[in-house]
Symmetry: none
Subunit: 401 residues, 2 copies
């Protein structure tokens, strides 16, 4: 990314509006000769493509498969290799846990230990979420704080939960206690820097108390922790670009990521229709909207090619609502690809579409991966998209004389 | 840019010749469906495109609109984010003022102050250039030096002029005295580093004397200064690439930029025809020619679409002269785009054309923005163009064994 000083120098506050529509995991690879986008009937997205300029983006580096964190940070203009979001933080954001500066957070598993204290099952047989909730309640009732540091325990799904430590002078540079294999005991939480010694002692005390509480439980008689982390300090979109940005996302993790970069998170519903309604209702109040559609990714992860095509077509039907609002800049893209054929995130670059009265137009008239590969923007790093959007909304001054 | 050590190691002196034809502000955006290049009749440029390989360049970073300084530095192979040229330096180069190492220069405005010393008009009603010249003469007659530091005053257009300080140990890290608004007094020139304390004192004394000289003038009874700067140290094209380069440009700023990077500046005329004649006359004496056409940019800045098309066609008619000279490498490109529709510099990438017997050929047969977007070179940073040109002239050895 460009130097912060330069970004602050060249950006200007204007009334023009940008809508960044992120269809999570949008890109695919062919199944029976067609990708999900190629199979989908998308007259409205194709119209946007024909009126705009297209390209392909690499979120991190060609060949690198991004997680949701780096995928989104890049789209918001940050170098995802410079700003890493810890797994604990991402997990906490994912279950909607509030995080403040200085707090240390980790993801945790309920696990099964044998009589010798060795890990027999790292996931305690993937206990039902209900049992997880009950166990977390029991742990939280017994452990409120350690050495004056507040402990918060929040259940996730199945065997997963999150532990947050709040207090002065905490440091997250602590090694995982999860040994990543069975047949050995959990590891000690080792400080990885002298400043983390006190925090590691607190974690160790917490774990001792937790094992005491869980003694006698079956199969979840142990806890494994990993991904100790703290909120990274990110300059906000307001600071960097003078934007007043809003987030419309139905999933907690994306709302959490948006909050990290200083967006106001709007209340919305679960469906694409509700998300677009939220956009309409708040359109006057912000100059940058990040609208996140989750289900393209979910269907991709499920390996559900037809389901992913349906979600794409559902989004396509809402594009006319977006056009009615007439933002100066519309961008449609993704944070990473999730081909149904691979049932997971992939490294394939993302289709990218930008429409603005101040941009060039290429001859792309279909919004697909290969049409975008031949688009006028070429292939570029996702972190460069932000300055492109700002430029196309006339929100940037000249650099240098 | 590549490390200097590597550049010096891999470049070789040969007799092959490179002509870099820069059509300032060439790229555009569509008006009634066509850009200036698309509207222009350019059989000769199209022939070059069909015989060569094309692409698009970003001078600074996608979305960033470059000034002339960064736009040209990038084309000459320098990282424009690493080498910034101060506004004072650029203004001095723009009026053809010679600049040496260590000299401090600033742009200045004649302004109108009220009885309380507050700025009433930052531009003194944009006084006529003739009056500016008379006032600069009066100032220069009264102030030749301050504390042994030589002061040179040179008029620009309307209310603008340049002040240059020559002496030992000067430092340009001084804050602007222009408050950028009316109703307040001019600011003091504050040192921004301890090393600039003496220079700021000299500037302060100069300003006190200048205000004394202008007392009683109407409306130009004050001076505001900004953009204090010094020549950046740039390794020359000779040092980096073993080139013997020449500049053919009718505007002072571009001649100044060329001198900065060690080019010999050739005498030439105002017209495109005269510039090409100069190229022919000196073709035997250099191995790299930077030929700059200004009027594509000027017409773009004026919002004169048809005028810009005419300039493009005028240049096109001179391409056969260039072909007769038969340089090994011909590059036609721009320092930045200046779409007539935007009446100013823009962020859109530059069309780029390279013709050499040692390059690949793509199937681009028209020299336009979108044809170049589909060209064989793809989209790349302008600062990479220099090594591409050198390679295509066989002026580079293998790197590594």
């Amino acid at each position: 990314m460009l130097d912060e000083r330069i970004l602050k120098e060249v950006t200007v506050k204007t009334s023009s509006k940008i809508v960044l529509l992120v269809m999570d995991g949008l890109g695919g690879i062919p199944v029976d000769g067609r990708t999900e986008l190629e199979a989908a009937h998308t007259p409205n997205l194709d119209r946007l493509a024909s009126e705009g300029i297209c390209g392909l983006t690499d979120p991190v580096y060609p060949g690198i498969t991004p997680g949701s964190g780096p995928g989104h940070l890049a789209l918001f203009g940050y170098d995802p290799l410079r700003y890493e979001i810890g797994r604990g933080v991402l997990e906490a954001l994912g279950i909607g846990m509030e995080l403040g500066p200085g707090e240390v957070v980790a993801r945790a598993n309920f696990a099964t230990l044998d009589e010798g204290g060795r890990v027999v099952d790292r996931r305690a047989g993937r206990i039902p979420t209900e049992e997880n909730k009950a166990l977390c309640g029991k742990l939280q009732a017994a452990i409120r704080e350690v050495e004056g540091v507040k402990v918060e325990i929040r259940p996730g799904r199945e065997h997963r939960f999150v532990v947050k430590f709040t207090g002065e002078g905490l440091d997250s540079r602590i090694s995982d206690t999860d040994p990543q294999k069975e047949g050995v005991p959990p590891r000690r939480p080792e400080p990885l820097a002298p400043e983390a010694e006190r925090t590691s002692r607190i974690v160790e005390t917490f774990l001792r108390q937790a094992f005491e509480v869980l003694k006698g439980e079956k199969p979840a008689n142990g806890v494994l922790m990993r991904g100790f982390s703290q909120l990274p300090h990110l300059p906000t979109l307001g600071e960097l670009y003078k934007l007043t940005p809003a987030c419309i996302a139905s999933y907690p993790m994306y709302r959490g990521l948006a909050k990290l970069v200083g967006m106001e998170v709007l209340e919305t519903g679960e469906t694409v229709a509700e998300e677009f309604t939220t956009l309409k209702e708040h359109f006057a109040d912000f100059d940058f909207f990040y609208l996140h559609v989750k289900k393209t990714d979910s269907r991709g992860e499920d390996g559900d090619f037809a389901g992913k095509v349906e979600v794409i077509e559902e989004v396509d039907r809402h594009i006319p609502l977006l056009l009615e609002l007439a933002p100066e800049v519309i961008v449609v893209t993704a944070d990473h690809s999730t081909p149904a054929a691979l049932k997971g995130h992939s490294w394939h670059p993302n289709p990218f579409l930008l429409r603005s009265p101040y941009e060039r137009r290429d001859d792309v008239d279909r919004f697909t991966e290969m049409a975008c590969a031949r688009g006028g923007l070429g292939r570029f790093r996702a972190q460069e998209a932000m300055t492109l959007m700002l430029a196309a909304a006339l929100k940037m001054k000249k650099f240098g004389a």
